[in-house]
């Protein structure tokens, strides 16, 4: 008998955690990627305003996030998704994992971030954006007396041989963004030649961002000896020592690809109205003001205020390279295979 009781207790232990005895409103589940962060108390503001608590559920990195939504379409993980970017937007839209809703609070100031009609404009609300750009170590170039590179074309010149490190496009999100920048710059049939020249010029390709930035880049907080790295436009502010007035590194604004992150209502939510309110809340200045210092990206809301470090040291590319989400989705596999053939022989 003892064993039957133990078995019973085990079953209870397994199932017990799932029973929720509550009369409070069902919490909204916000499904997001593992880089999601907001300052403490921000989501509580939403609960104070609406009476609905919010639970955050992580679903791996940005790529895993969309695939998770696709795989769990029949039994959604949550009510709202945040963190689908323009490189994965088409997959989410085409697989029908999102309900039609774009925030009613969007104004014409945010038009530049909207996806094309029929490719996500109706389902996804832009929340933040960040530019992936080539970064340079100002101090290194000043010391050597070599002029800094400015454009993508400069990177294949002999004076920058063996100085550039980037991330693999098939294992790193900034790596993919940089590949897309070169595709936009040199065209669908020209980028292969550019990459062949990059390889000949001694570009180093690391698996991930941490590896490229902290091991091979020569910046002040890094260990390496290569003064050119693919990182974010928002990276330089974080290299500024306390009290300093000049950033020791900088982003090359003619080499950038813009990543925009979106939020949307997950199809099949049981609380559509609440989910829509949460999307609106993510676009409100309460969240938008917090985004730069919490997630190191720019808010899309034109009324949001930027922190001082962003105003002083971070720059935005005036005219970043663009590849449409539909093109990315259609060609991702071909491009990555072609890229691997050139860059990972």
């Amino acid at each position: 008998m003892k064993y039957a009781i133990i078995a019973g207790a085990l079953m209870l232990a397994v199932t017990g955690c799932t029973t929720t005895a509550s009369t409070a409103p069902q919490p909204l589940v916000l499904v997001t990627h593992d880089s999601f962060a907001l300052s403490e108390g921000i989501l509580d503001t939403f609960t104070e305003q609406t009476g609905i608590p919010v639970t955050v559920q992580s679903a791996g990195d940005a790529g895993q996030l969309v695939n998770t939504l696709v795989l769990t379409k029949d039994s959604p993980l949550g009510d709202v998704v945040f963190g689908i970017d323009n490189t994965f937007a088409s997959r989410a839209v085409e697989n029908g994992v999102l309900a039609d809703y774009a925030s009613k609070d969007l104004t014409s100031a945010e038009d530049q971030y909207l996806l094309p009609a029929g490719q996500g404009r109706e389902q996804l609300t832009p929340i933040d954006n960040g530019d992936v750009c080539v970064n340079v170590d100002h101090e290194w170039f000043a010391e050597k007396g070599i002029p800094e590179p400015v454009t993508l074309d400069d990177l294949i010149k002999p004076e920058y041989k063996d100085l550039f490190v980037t991330e693999a496009a098939n294992s790193s999100s900034p790596g993919l963004a940089f590949l897309l920048a070169t595709i936009a710059a040199f065209g669908e049939n020209g980028w292969q030649e550019y990459w062949t020249k990059l390889m000949a010029n001694g570009v180093k390709i690391d698996a991930g961002w941490s590896d490229a930035y902290y091991v091979d880049f020569s910046g002040p907080s890094s260990e390496g000896d290569r003064p050119i790295v693919v990182s974010y436009a928002s990276s330089p502010p974080f290299e500024v020592a306390e009290g300093a007035t000049v950033a020791p590194t900088g982003a090359l604004l003619d080499t950038c690809f813009r990543q925009t992150e979106y939020a949307g209502v997950i199809a099949g939510t049981k609380n559509e109205a609440g989910a829509q309110q949460l999307v609106d809340f993510l676009l409100s200045t309460t969240v938008q003001n917090d985004i730069p210092e919490s997630m190191y990206v720019y808010p899309v809301n034109s009324k949001a205020t930027l922190p001082e470090s962003f105003v002083k040291f971070a720059k935005i590319a005036p005219d970043p390279f663009v590849v449409s989400p539909a093109d990315i989705d259609k060609n991702r596999e071909t491009w990555l295979a072609e890229w691997a053939a050139i860059a990972q022989p």
């Binding site: 064993y3 133990i6 079953m11 397994v14 199932t15 955690c17 799932t18 589940v29 997001t32 593992d34 880089s35 962060a37 300052s39 403490e40 639970t55 955050v56 559920q57 992580s58 679903a59 791996g60 990195d61 790529g63 895993q64 695939n67 696709v70 795989l71 769990t72 039994s75 993980l77 693999a168 098939n170 294992s171 180093k204 690391d206 698996a207 991930g208 961002w209 941490s210 590896d211 930035y213 902290y214 091991v215 091979d216 002040p220 907080s221 890094s222 000896d225 974010y232 928002s234 974080f238 290299e239 020592a241 210092e293 919490s294 190191y296 991702r332 596999e333 990555l336 990972q344 022989p345």
Partner: protein, 545 residues
């Protein structure tokens, strides 16, 4: 047919216990491993419910697949051999000899196991950068050995600890050289535990992911990195399923081979002795190997103390808050608390299920069918090590969504996922020891009138107490350092320490990098402290025989 030959009738309580002993581990694996993996593979090979095996021909006609398969097997086999060669002298010194600081050293050897791959990758690359080894196959080997040598030291060490030394002593007295004693007497008796350790290392290396990517400079892939790419980048479930099935086939083949190496040895709870002259080669080798293991760790400690103006504890001080510029959601000590709680839960699950399973597996039933069934059960326990974390992780999400297993957002899923990885380590540490108990000992106890429960308590459990402690420490370390499943399932407001470290090292700036390294040092220090403490709980083995 059994009725006539059964001398002692099995009491019903033992029958129930056996059924439960088999049932609980099998149910655990069925629900949390077999079902999710089968569901994921099903999505790939039968997307519309109709079986389509065309993917196999297509995937295997790609030259890339064959190359990755070769790399996976070659790298795992080589790393297993190296780990055994390097692990044996360390196991001898740490488990057969008695000296001050032994508990601490045993804990230190486990360190690499808990350090986040990305941190070790950065540490290794920082050390290797500028040398011809950077980005080579040798670099991957070094890292794989660094991570896995602890498996050999612990698994073989706990078997070695209990090996009756009288045979060796006799041979020595009769004039055999130390090498001869080792090769002809000790090594054969360690066979089963070496096979167990090597197969675990093989599986860990065959599914190694981050370390291969970071150190190989992405030109060396494995089946595991390919599954990750296919699943998370391309959502090509068809090809991913083919590779998942391939992984399973490799694991099952490996287990079939390893299953043949089995032996039973007399054992006695040995008293560790002081080192003597003949231990010199082992001592030298063990010192060199532990010193080599310490290099990347010391490099991390050095980096954690570096500040913008010299050395100091700034990085550690930053960990007390949420970091400069709000890098963290919670202070590191909160994340550490989360980690410890989850790791304890995972350890309890893994050790409970692992011990029960080992007790059942250590019996050799008379019927060949039952013996064969136990063999399959034995192998099944190792399977979770050989299957991609991505497949299991996504599998959780598409299966555990219905009552009574509506667990996708339940906090219990994280310790369960960690326990899946720790379970094989527990079984492989405990089972060889249980198997080495002379069955005649149990029989004579029974003949002398001891009830089956008394036999279990006084014979099995008393012998196994130490290995269970060792396994607990091991399981705990594995759970503490686990990141793959945790990142998949975690709640961002309740991050574990490895999750926090990954976040920090993914952000630019000297403070964030310094904090990431400092947090890794904290994780390592806490692990060493906890394991050293467990080692100190010297359970006095009741009734040494």
């Amino acid at each position: 047919m059994a009725n006539a030959s059964t001398a002692v009738r099995t009491p019903p309580s033992i029958v129930i216990a056996t059924v439960l002993g088999v049932g609980v581990p099998v149910a655990f694996l069925a629900v949390f491993f077999a079902w999710p993996v089968a569901a994921m593979i099903g999505r790939g090979v039968a997307p519309e419910g109709i079986l389509d095996l065309g993917g196999f021909g297509e995937v295997f006609s790609r030259p890339r697949t064959i190359r990755l398969l070769g790399l996976t097997l070659g790298q795992a086999a080589l790393a297993s051999v190296l780990c055994v060669l390097l692990g044996l002298p360390v196991a001898h010194v740490l488990y057969r000899l008695q000296f001050r600081g032994r508990a601490l050293l045993r804990a230190l050897v486990l360190l690499p196991f808990v350090l986040p791959t990305v941190v070790v990758g950065v540490a290794f690359r920082t050390l290797l950068r500028g040398t011809p080894l950077d980005g080579t196959f040798v670099a991957i080997m070094l890292a794989l050995v660094f991570f896995n040598v602890a498996v050999v030291v612990r698994t073989v060490g706990s078997a070695w600890e209990g090996l009756d030394p009288r045979q060796e002593d006799a041979a020595r007295v009769l004039g055999a050289s130390p090498a001869r004693v080792f090769l002809t007497i000790t090594l054969p008796r360690l066979g089963p535990s070496i096979a167990a350790a090597a197969s675990i290392v093989f599986l860990f290396c065959a599914t190694a992911f981050g370390v291969v990517l970071v150190l190989g400079g992405t030109q060396f892939g494995t089946i595991e990195t390919e599954i990750y790419l296919l699943t998370t980048q391309f959502l090509d479930l068809r090809a991913a399923s083919v590779l998942s099935v391939t992984q399973l086939v490799i694991v099952v083949a490996l287990l079939a081979v390893v299953g043949r190496v089995r032996g039973s040895t007399q054992r006695r709870v040995a008293i560790a002795r002081r080192p003597r002259r003949s231990d010199a080669p082992a001592l030298v080798a063990a010192s060199l190997i532990t010193a080599a293991l310490a290099v990347p760790v010391l490099a991390l400690v050095e980096r954690s103390l570096r500040t913008s103006d010299g050395y100091g504890f700034t990085n550690f001080a930053l960990l007390a808050g949420t970091g400069s510029r709000n890098a963290l959601v919670v202070p590191v000590w909160v994340a550490l608390g989360n980690s410890l709680t989850i790791a304890v839960q995972a350890t309890v699950i893994a050790v409970t299920i692992g011990l029960v399973a080992s007790l059942v597996l250590s019996r050799s039933p008379r019927s060949p069918t039952a013996r064969r069934a136990l063999g399959v059960f034995d192998g099944a326990l190792l399977l979770p090590l050989g299957v991609s974390a991505v497949t299991v992780g996504f599998g959780f999400l598409i299966t555990l969504n219905q009552p009574p297993f509506d667990l996708r957002s339940s906090p219990i899923l994280i310790p369960i996922a960690q326990a899946l990885v720790a379970l094989p380590l527990v079984v492989r540490t405990v089972l060889p020891v249980l198997r080495s108990i002379d069955p005649r000992l149990r029989e004579s106890a029974a003949v002398l009138g001891a009830s089956p429960w008394r036999v279990l308590r006084d014979v099995d459990l008393s012998v196994v107490a130490r290995p269970v402690l060792a396994a607990s420490g091991f399981a705990f370390a594995v759970a503490l350092g686990e990141f793959g499943a945790t990142s998949f399932l975690s709640r961002p407001d309740r991050p574990t320490l490895p999750v926090v470290i990954y976040r920090l090292i993914g952000l630019p700036g000297g403070d964030n990098f310094g904090m990431a390294i400092a947090a890794s040092v904290v994780l390592a220090a806490v692990t060493v402290a906890v394991i050293a403490l467990v080692e100190r709980l010297r359970v006095d083995t009741v009734g040494a025989f």
